[in-house]
């Protein structure tokens, strides 16, 4: 059966992509941010996952407000980078793990999660940036991807508990998939930021650092917090952090936090990552 290799939580700030595109990786402003990912990048490269499940939100690029799926699942063979207004970025297409994705669709519906099933989907920075932060800028991505998209823009957004439960289901789906492939699960978004309203520019490094420190060892508080609490503590767009709970929910109760990193501000956002491994 397939194996859950590790869980990775990371920001997906679009300015990270812009910095890479402008050649600012090693600039004074950005180098400390990118360097913090190096140990996790090396670990992932050494452990060679076959499939990356990327949990993210579309940012008004592939879905408009005419139809807003609370939960969507990509089952495509290939995903192109989306045009977010500046033309599609020059990153490679993403090969889909379509067979595993259909297996996941079956397990989701049997487990009472009912996603929009997407056969054609352009993927925006929410998926691109985590892939670049983990795998760099290869000519071809070394893993196949499964996009899981969560609505975090139009209310009602799903609850933190629901995200956790989706993670529990994802774990069972991975471990009932009849190959010996290794799966890396990425929960993305955050950390604290707010783009809208007079509180725009709100960031909360204290809460962010606590999140980074506790999401592995003591996630209970975050599972039971309300959506409003997320908005208050992490900002209106910081509520994206609920998507990390899908990743955390698919891990064991007790995990090793292999690596973590925090940096603020990346553009207008607290940014960082954790890499979690189940105890053996």
């Amino acid at each position: 059966m397939a194996k859950l290799l590790a869980g990775l939580g990371t920001s997906h700030v679009p300015s990270i992509a812009a910095a890479l595109d402008k050649g600012l990786r090693d600039s004074a402003e950005w180098k400390p941010f990118f360097d913090g990912y190096i140990p996790a990048q090396k670990w992932v490269a050494d452990h060679k996952p076959d499939i990356a499940v990327v949990v993210y939100n579309d940012h008004g690029n592939s879905f408009f407000l005419d139809r807003v799926p609370t939960l969507a699942l990509g089952v495509a063979e290939n995903y192109r980078p989306a045009d977010e207004g500046w033309g599609p970025r020059a990153v490679p297409d993403f090969q889909g793990a379509d067979d595993f994705a259909w297996h996941l669709a079956d397990r989701m519906v049997e487990g009472h999660f009912d996603p929009l099933i997407c056969r054609e989907l352009d993927v925006d920075h929410g998926l691109q940036v985590p892939m670049e932060l983990v795998f760099g800028r290869p000519e071809a991505w070394p893993v196949k991807v499964v996009p899981i998209l969560i609505n975090t823009i139009q209310y009602p957004i799903p609850t933190p508990q629901r995200m956790w439960d989706l993670g529990r289901l994802l774990r069972r789906a991975i471990e009932s998939y009849p190959t010996d492939e290794k799966v890396l699960v990425m929960g993305t978004g955050g950390l604290s930021h707010q783009l809208q309203g007079a509180r725009a520019g709100f960031i909360n490094p204290t809460a962010d650092r606590e999140w980074i420190a506790r999401i592995g060892s003591d996630p209970e508080r975050y599972r039971t917090m309300s959506r409003e609490d997320y908005v208050e503590e992490f900002g209106s767009e910081g509520a994206e952090l609920i998507m990390w709970l899908v990743m955390r929910g698919c891990m064991d109760e007790t995990v090793n936090t292999l690596f973590d990193h925090y940096f603020a501000p990346a553009s207008m956002t607290g940014a960082g990552m954790v890499l979690l491994e189940n105890m053996r």
Binding site: F64, L65, G197, A200, G201, I203
Partner: protein, 116 residues
Amino acid sequence: MTDADRIPDTPLFDRPRSNAGYALNKMAMGLSTPDGRAAFLADEDAYLDRFALTPEQRNAVKSRDWAEMVRLGGNLFYILKISAVDPTPIRAIGAAQAGMELQEFLDTRLGKVTNG
């Protein structure tokens, strides 16, 4: 979310805002194609005429009044596409909504807490 505006200065994109801003956001979404961007750049008024904006929304777009666009139901993820055809840094859009000069915004909202 029974009281979406409980958190001060934090407009959650709920049903009233989504309804109020639908045409405005749809206009902005049209800028995610090369044809839409070309049309906007060639004749902004003619492009805006395609969408059922209120006079207030139209004025907010024309004057690039980001706070007003959000007040009238615009969501940043859509209206940000205007900044792709009329380049405006995201931090400037943030400062405008906060009602601050850019440097004050960077210092008080983002800078002083950099290593918080």
